[in-house]
Structures are given as structure tokens and as C-alpha cells.
Symmetry: D2
């Protein structure tokens, strides 16, 4: 059954495989008369693009976004906006051995069980390359939110156990890890470098903060803003957990500690992470996302082939050592999608 669409009032449908013709998305529900051009995508696509650092896959993709529809004379028309990002650097031969063997930690096994066969080249549909379409969609989402003065800022809170001690927005984009702590950058470089040298990989935690979100976004009871954010970020490959505000820490607080008392000037604290009863409360939205280490490692691993026979797998080639940095723009895009969707949904209301 269909599972490649996200959003109700502002909806993206994505398609594409890692080593197919390209990745793409159709955005349905974008209001008309919003300025949009292909140049608008360049910056965000570059933030996600592979090959930015020595620790990334060296796959070279320009990731140019072609607008196929929905824009006329520089403005959105209200018709669906189709975006296409052609794949170029698709070297499929290295994946031939994977025709028979399932890579541990990857989706090979489950796709095979579900579909009976699959495009194993670079992970096919399950590849992290799929997030290119999300980032492109996120650019439009931010345009929809444009006049609301909402700011979405994600960063690497933790990488391979190294945690940023300070959050300086000006630092985030000055280093390839999107680390907000100038003092942690070198440690992050060390830990990722060391893991790479050992043929291994590392995970981490990304934090996303939203400033300026008005109160009132979110639809009780199942489409709570928190629930839709959870679905959005958990739908990204390699994400294994998420929390909002105090999150798992709230489990160990008392009510008198966790409650955010209210004053005429706002909330005294923000343990809620900006969401109460599933609806934004006007405070900053804060969420953290746990990212597992990339499963593609250079070490020998036990696995089985398609017939269930045991085998050893030792990957060759070069892969990302961590998914974390490149996930920063992806998670920003997903949060933007959720906010744009709920912004438009909220507009349906006050008819009474």
C-alpha cells in the first residue's frame, strides 16, 4: 500500500532509487504566488550533498534540482510542483556482490522479505540518497512558512560520544559536522577519523530547534504536532529515537520540576519543548534525534545469502563514516514539512 507521501494539507510524494535515474518529489498543496526558482534549492542541496568532507562517500553529485511543473513566470501556481534530481555518478558494479548477500544493519533483508526482490544498487529505495528529495521539498516548505518568521536550526549535538557543550548558532555552518561548539569540532574530527581508519562508523544525536512558531499548530488527538514530528524524523533512515523538550529526562523529573510555570511574559522554563497537548505553545520547539552508526563498515561480518546460507561479508569501497552531519539539513527539512503542513491545516479553522 502507498507509503511514499507525507503531509495532509501540504503533501510531498517522493520517488527514486540510489542508482536509478534520479530522485524526485511532487509537492501538492503549495499555495500559489510564492516566488520559486531552481536557484532556491542550491544552498540546501549543497548542505546535504555527499563529498563535502574526507569522511563522506566520494560519490559526486551536483544535485541540481529541476522544476518540472507548478511554477509559472517565477511564481507557484497552486498546481503540483514536481522536482527531479538526476543521478549522475551511478557506478553500480561494486554492488554486484550484494545481489546475493544481505548487509547487516541495512534494509536488504527486509526489502527482500517484503518484495521478493529489490534494487540492491546502493540500497535502492532505502538509500540515504532518498533524503535528497526531502531536502528539496523542505526548501518549498520554508517558503510557505516564509512570512511567519519561523527559524529552524539543527545541529550535531553529539557525534561518536563527543557532545557539544555550548550552542553557538554562528559556529554551526563553519565546520563540516554542523557542530555548534567551536571547542568540540576537533574532537569530532578525531573521533570520526579514528573510526574511519579502523573501518568502522559512528552515530550521534542531532538537535533541532524552531524559533518563532506561533501557538496553535497541531491537531488533537492523533495528529498532534509532537506525533507528526515524531513520524517525520523517525521516517528518516538510521534514526532510532526522538524526544521533545526534556524528553527521556522528563521521566526522572517530578511534576513540580517538569511543569513550565506560566507568567504574563511567557513560560518560566521549556521542559515541554514548545508543545503542550500536542499543540505548539509559542515557545521554542526543541527535539533531539538519535542516529545510529552507518551500517556500512569495512570489517568482516556474518550474514546469509538469499537462500539462507551463511556467508561472510567484507565491504569494499568508501562510504560515509557517519550519517549524522548530512542528516542536519534533512531533519531541518522534515521539521519544515511538518510545520508547513500544520500551518496550512491551522488556516482551515476559525470559521465559527
Amino acid at each position: 500500500m502507498p507509503g511514499n507521501s507525507f503531509g495532509k494539507a501540504f503533501k510531498m510524494t517522493t520517488f527514486g532509487e540510489s542508482h536509478g535515474k534520479g530522485m524526485g518529489t511532487v509537492i501538492d498543496g503549495c499555495p500559489s504566488k510564492i516566488a520559486l526558482s531552481e536557484e532556491d534549492f542550491v544552498k540546501e542541496m549543497a548542505r546535504r550533498r555527499p563529498g563535502r568532507t574526507a569522511f563522506d562517500t566520494p560519490r559526486s553529485e551536483t544535485d541540481r534540482v529541476e522544476i518540472l511543473s507548478g511554477v509559472f513566470e517565477g511564481l507557484t501556481t497552486g498546481a503540483p510542483i514536481a522536482l527531479l534530481i538526476r543521478n549522475h555518478d551511478v557506478e553500480s558494479k561494486p554492488y554486484e556482490p550484494l545481489r546475493e548477500l544481505f548487509r547487516p544493519g541495512h534494509a536488504d533483508y527486509t526489502y527482500f522479505k517484503k518484495y521478493g526482490h529489490f534494487d540492491f544498487r546502493g540500497g535502492g529505495r532505502s538509500s540515504a540518497r532518498e533524503t535528497a528529495a526531502r531536502v528539496a521539498a523542505g526548501v518549498i516548505a520554508r517558503k510557505v512558512l516564509g512570512h511567519l518568521e519561523i527559524q529552524i536550526m539543527a545541529f550535531t549535538l553529539e557525534l561518536g560520544g563527543i557532545r557539544a557543550a555550548t550552542i553557538d548558532p554562528d559556529v554551526i555552518n563553519t565546520n563540516p559536522f554542523y557542530c555548534p561548539d567551536v571547542n568540540a569540532v576537533d574532537q569530532m574530527r578525531d573521533v570520526i577519523s579514528k573510526a574511519g581508519d579502523e573501518g568502522d562508523s559512528i552515530g550521534g544525536i542531532v538537535e533541532v530547534r524552531v524559533f518563532g512558531c506561533p501557538a496553535g499548530f497541531g491537531e488533537p488527538v492523533f495528529d498532534k504536532l509532537s506525533a507528526d514530528l515524531a513520524k517525520a524524523v523517525m521516517s528518516v533512515g538510521a534514526v532510532k529515537g526522538m524526544e521533545i523538550g526534556a524528553g527521556f529526562g522528563a521521566a526522572r523529573l517530578r511534576g513540580s520540576q517538569n511543569n513550565d510555570q506560566i507568567t504574563p511574559d511567557g513560560f518560566r522554563t521549556n521542559h515541554a519543548g514548545g508543545i503542550l497537548g500536542g499543540i505548539s505553545n509559542g515557545d521554542d520547539i526543541v527535539l533531539r534525534v538519535a542516529v545510529k552508526p552507518i551500517p556500512s563498515i569495512m570489517k568482516a561480518q556474518e550474514t546469509i545469502d538469499r537462500n539462507g546460507r551463511p556467508a561472510m561479508l567484507k565491504l569494499k569501497g568508501r562510504f560515509d563514516i557517519s550519517a549524522v552531519p548530512r542528516m542536519v539539513p534533512v531533519l531541518e527539512a522534515m521539521v519544515a514539512m511538518v510545520l508547513a503542513d500544520h500551518y496550512l491545516r491551522t488556516r482551515c479553522h476559525d470559521a465559527g
Copy 2:
């Protein structure tokens, strides 16, 4: 915009307020010829019912489920199954002071901001009583899964900082906290008792395990099983975080540690929590849910009234001291809903 439905192939729509006429749900998409009677709901409703312990609200509700439609001569017909749970013990007077004041940590403020007014009696639509409808729906979800031999088991992993050290399924239902560790029960009783004595409340962590789920449930890329589980549990009031398998812990593992190597007899480990690429892999599904402390406390708190003027709030009456234990059957129900939905969605497939 509508937000009170969950599921695509197996869908529940819920309604009702804490102090209105009752809570209810309409289940659409239940296959026909499944045996169902009002007695089937008694046990699960009792597990969630308030007033089971000295630490719960003493509100007395029989929580009898009336089947309004969709069942004929003891069997489901394929038509929508409407369930109604009448409210009985609805004493609304104690809530009169809340007509003007927002309770910190509650949804009062955001509902007011969003809707302009709201049913403040007992939290109205945002009340934990809303979960009664979910538990009732979950009973039907389990029936749909019935012949698959799937077992769903939730328990209180942690309560007010006390963590279960062992997981003994036989212990879970022998104590009011659904604690799986016989040695932790008394400590949990102490911590909840102490918090209550001090007019305070506590949070905790619930773990849910699913045994026997076949490989192949979940629809890439947005309706991943993990994403739908995340949405399901994060849609429950008071939940502030969730993780699957190794979860946040995976963020600190290396790929060589986190990957679950594969043998002809199954996976060597289960850091994935039973889900790879958003699709169940046949191993146990494991997820943990962070529950914040109940915001209703007896201590004085700063707040504002509907006109934004500062005020002090000191609640009277008796409330649950922790949402955790009663959330155990609720989370089981939500997981059952997701599985039933994906089970039916999976049935659409292999037409090729």
C-alpha cells in the same frame, strides 16, 4: 482540520471528552467474521481503569463498552464498529476555577489559543480519559492479529527513577505498576507514595515488546513501521520521547557494535529492535516510551488567566500521581493498532 483518526487500512476515529457524555471510537476496516462481544473488552478496560490503586484518581468508572454497530450474531460484518463508553462519575464543579486559569503542563493554554474556548472540565478532549477509546480499539486490533500468534507485552521499565532490573513476564500483572521485576515493586510503591505525600507526581519509562511479528510489516519510506509506531505512541498524552531497539544508546555505538549480524538461525543481536529500513525483520520489536510526570500537582504554581494576568494555582482534589502504570495497556493498544494496520496493508501486496 481532522486529526482524530489513526490508521489507513485499519482505522480508528475517536471522540469524547473527560466530562462529556462519554468516550468512543469508530473502527473502520475491520475484516468480517471475527468473533466480537462486549465481554471481550472487560479485561483490557479494567487494566486501564482509574481507581485500581491508592495512587490513582478515585474517579469511578465501570468503563463498560457498548458495541453500537458492526457486529451481527457475534461476528464482525465488515461495517464500521462503533464503540461507546459512557461517562458516569462526572463531577464537574471542582473544575470551575479552571474556567479562567491555565494549569501549567496541561493543554489548557494551547487549546484556548487554538480554539478560542474549550471544555475545561477534567481537561476535556485532552484528558487522559481519551485513552479509554484507544484501549477499546486495541482489543479489536488484537483480534485482527489473532491468528498470527503475535504477542504484545508492555511493562513499566522505570518509575520515578526506579528501574526494573529483570524482566519477568509473569510478574507484570501481579502488581499495580505493571513492574516486571519483583524486587522493584516495593521501591516503586515507595517512590510513588512519597511523591503523592508531597503533593507531587512522577514520570517513568514504559517498554513495549512484540513477539512473533512476521518480517515484512511497514511501508517505505514515510510509513515505515518505526515511523508509524513513533506517531502512535507520541500521540498519547504525556509521552515526550520514544526509541526503538538500542535507540539513543545506538548513537554511542560503533557500526561494528550496533549491526546485528545475521546467521541462518536469525540475528545475533537485536539492536535494531526488530525493524530494518522501516520494515519488521521477524525479530522482537522493542520500543521504549518516556512519560512525563502528571502535571496535576498539589503545589502552588505560577500561571496566568485567560486575559493574561498573573495568578497562583493550587489544585485540590485527587489525581493520579503517575500516568505510567495506566499507560501500559494504552501503549499496548496503540502498538496493536499499528500492527493491525500494517498487517492489513501488507495483504495488498504480492499481486505480481
Copy 3:
């Protein structure tokens, strides 16, 4: 799979069977702060109620609508509004013979084929009584549209071959057939009376006109206003065709005849029936609906039993002789649902 919901921004989910506990609906997406009480339903429910004339089933139902949720202190809250109409006059014994025999022209055969069994009492879920929930929902839809000054007027254009020659709005509610032509009322009475005397039934055509609908309702390309109206009216039992504006007549016109030329004061003609490119154009919306004769007749008919063996069926009891008059308020309700849905959907737009 679920099929009991209608609408995207303003959604109703209905449930119930003819001889079960009752009929009901859950409305999700109704804006807050709209005045609503149980009295608001009385008039429309009475227009649809059986037993208004000698030609109807004498089943006696008060069709009182109970509001179960979503209204607080007389105003909608934005939470789902559940409505319940209890069945009272449910005499099921006369239907016992139908346990084995399929009634020609009814859904018995297809429900049995699809579901393996069904609630055959009075047609169960496929009964015309199902439309009671639609009429109740339509009352709320009109409230949502309230301040727009939209008027929805349906009437019996044709009954058993007798066609209204004039359309006088003041006449419609003065006769039990909702006939708009004072001179056709007696002929309609004669034709229905004659058919009833012969144990037979008749069909007809209902026309619906909408005055005051603003331009801009409808979402290209699949959720055109015309497409959603078509689905809405074709989802009502016994409806076998629908047309908008010139409809089937347009198939025989030339473009120069059919085009509605445009002047500063509006369109010169209205062959389009108020919809161009699937979007309302501000002119009156006009649609016609073909209603088949009631399949319950007193004449002997060939049929088969559940085992495929031939049988003769001769119904006893009393049924409506025509579905047409009672369909007038039902079709008004469905058109109101579509307009309310598209009104709210349209509100998402102009964000640019």
C-alpha cells in the same frame, strides 16, 4: 479497507445498521465556536423521516439526534462531534425469510459475496436508513457554511415519469413529494399511488441547486468540485446517475451553444452548472440525480438462496414506494458536506 468516511478538511465517518442499535456519525474538522444544539437537527431529520405519507414505510422513528461530544456550553470546540440516532422501531422478525434469500435489486447478494455474511435485517448497513446519519451531518455542514449566505435547494424534478414543469421554491415544502410545481403534485400522487396499489415502485430525478456559492471552490485535478459532488451523490443508495448543468444534454450541443459567454455582469447562460475546470465559477450550481425505483416490491420475483438454489421471493409488509422524496433532504445534506469540505480546503490557500 475503510470506506465509511467522506471529506478531507471536513470529514464525516458514519456507522450503524437499519435494525441495530442506531445510526451515527463522527464529524471531524468542524471549526470551533459554532453554535450547535440538539434542537438544530429536528427540522431536517423530520424532512427525511419515514412515515410522513401514506406511501412511506410506516416504521416510526423519532430520529432524535443525541450529541455525544464536541460541543461545550452550546458551542463547537473543534473536537470531533459524535452524533447518535438510536433505532427504536426495529421489528426484525419479518426479515427472517431473508436470512436465506437474496432480494433482487438489493445489496444482499453483493454483501454476502464480499463479507461472507451480513446483517440482513432491513438491509443492515445497506439500508436507506443509513442516510439519517448523512442528514444529521449535513446540518453541521450548513452551519459551517452559515455566514457565506449559500442556499441549497433540492426538489423532485421527476417522479415516475411525471416532470415538474415549473420550479417554484415556495411550493417544494408544501407537499410530501418536494415537488416544486403545484400543478404536478396531484399527478405525482396518482402515479405513486397507482404503483403502490399494484405492489410496485417508482423512481425519479432529483435536482439540486446551490445559490451563492463563491467562485474558487474545488481542487484540480482529481478533487474537482464536480468530481466530489459526483462521488457524494453516487454514494447514496439507489442513485444510478448524475449530471451537472447541461449534463447529458451538453453531449448534443455545439460548442457555440454550450459555452457560457461572459459579461461584466456574469455569465449569459449556465450550461456549465456553475463549475468550470472543476472549480465553482460563482454562478448557481445545478445538478440532477437519477434515482432508481425501490427494489422492494410485492410482486413475485426469481432469486436464489445462499447456496445458489433457485427460489421465488414475494415480500410482505410495507415499504416506501419511492425513494425519491426522502432523498431530497439527503442530497441537500451531501451537497452541503461537499461545499463545507471545499470551503475549508479553500481556506488553506492564499498564503503567497
Copy 4:
């Protein structure tokens, strides 16, 4: 709000404008392991292609379908299938005068009212060219239905008042009008030729028949097969009415005439058009669709400009004289979409 998707279990989302980069669709929900190649689209695309006759627009499009995703080694993978049909012959200059003037009978006026501006080149999103994506999607729908031995056959029942008197399947594809009556072909040619000579256009009626559809397709009560077929065909531009089985004729029959009596060998008649209670009954599905005359005519017409000032419009260039023939493959595709969707939906059921 989004309106460019159709189907629930088998879903297409379309995009594109007449004079933009191209038309396309994303199919989500196609089962895996179905053989599919770009060659599979050639025949159906050719049936819809403009320029087949002297009465069509001479626009020359090869309408080659590029598969962008979802197919691996010749088989569908279960991932979304994106199809792109590049526009080539896009001469936009002739449309410059339409920047200011609304064409009567077209969607220009309503798009402008709704969106504030629009791609007026060739009608933009509202162009009949949009149906190219539907035909491409329909090819996949038929593949999904492949092993069921369902046959879908559409033909021109009536063109400009000329009605086919006999239905010979072998004749349909031997003439450019898809007329099933060898004796009516010349008359149809005459009537369309005469209208063209006079700078006018004509409408007609298309009939669609489905052979071999199993009983059980359709989901009560809103997603009846009849309701979804109605929405599907009414969503096609220029369609103004639809009827199933006896349709509007049933409004003048008595129940004793209209009921299809049942025998062990099937139904004695097929006034129901293969659908009872919204569910297929195993008999042939029969529906008829009213198509208005093409609004683009060479005659002078009154209209207004974007500022509401009166103007006269006289189109130049060459357009189709009738939409009817090219609609035959489009309606077949839409019916195939509905059947594929309901086929997959039906597979969710019998779990009991």
C-alpha cells in the same frame, strides 16, 4: 489543499502543464514483481495522442513515457513508479492574447479567481493534455489487474448526435472515432467535419464496459465502486454527467422492470450495470459518460478581461473539434485505476 492524487491502495499523483516541461505521474502502491517496460506504454499513449486525425489539434507529441523509478531489471519493486512524458511541441506564443482574456467554457476564469494567476499557455494544468498522465497510469493499473482476466472496453456511443446502433468490439479500433458501429462511422465523420468547417465543436457520449470483474469490489458506504467510478470519470475535463447501468432511464422504470432477477446462472438482466449496493456483482459493469463540446471554437464570443472589462474573443489556430474520441482511452484508464485500487483494497479483507 492537495487534490492531485487518486486512489487509496493504488494511488496516482499527477503533475504537469500543457506547455511546461512535461506531464507526469507517480504511482504508489503497485505490487512488486510485475513486468514493466517503457514499451508497454506505447500503444495506449498512441490511442490518446493528438494528431491522429484531421479533426484533432495538429500538435505533434511523441508522448514517450520515461520510467524514472520503481522498476528494476524489468520488474516493479514495490517502490513508487514515476513516469515522465516530456512536452516537445510547445508553441506558447499563440496563447499570448489569453494572458488577459478568459476563454468561455474554459477554466481560465476559475483558475484566475482561485489562484490569482495561472499558466494560461494551452490551458496549463487544466489542459486536456493532463490526461496523458492518466493514460500512462492506466497502463500500470491494467497490469495490476492482469491475471484477473478483466477486460475494459470503451467506445464512442454518440458523437454530435449520431448514435452507434450496434456495438461491435472489432470495429472500435478500426476508425479514429472509436465508434463500434461500422454504419455510423461515416456519419460521425460528416458531423465532426461539418462542425469543424463552421468553426464549431461537438460533444458526445462514451460508454465503458468491463467484462470479468469479480463480485466484491467496492467499499460501503462512501467508497462504493459506483461512487469512485463517478468521481474518476467526472474528474476528467469536459465530462458533465455519468450514469451506471440503466442510469437516468431507471428513473422512469418500475421496480418490477428495473430489478435484475437472479437465477442460478446469473442475473436475468443488467439494469444495475454490474453494481449492487456499491459493490460489483460479477455482471458486466456498464457506464456512460457525457462529454461537452470542446469550448475552443473559431466563432467570436463575448468575454471579459482580467479587470472585468468586456471584450470579444475569436480564437485562431487549430484545436480538436471534439474531445470525445481521445477520451475513450482516458476513460478506460480511469476505470482501470478504480478497479486496480478496489482490487487491492479487497485483498485486505477476509482475515477473520
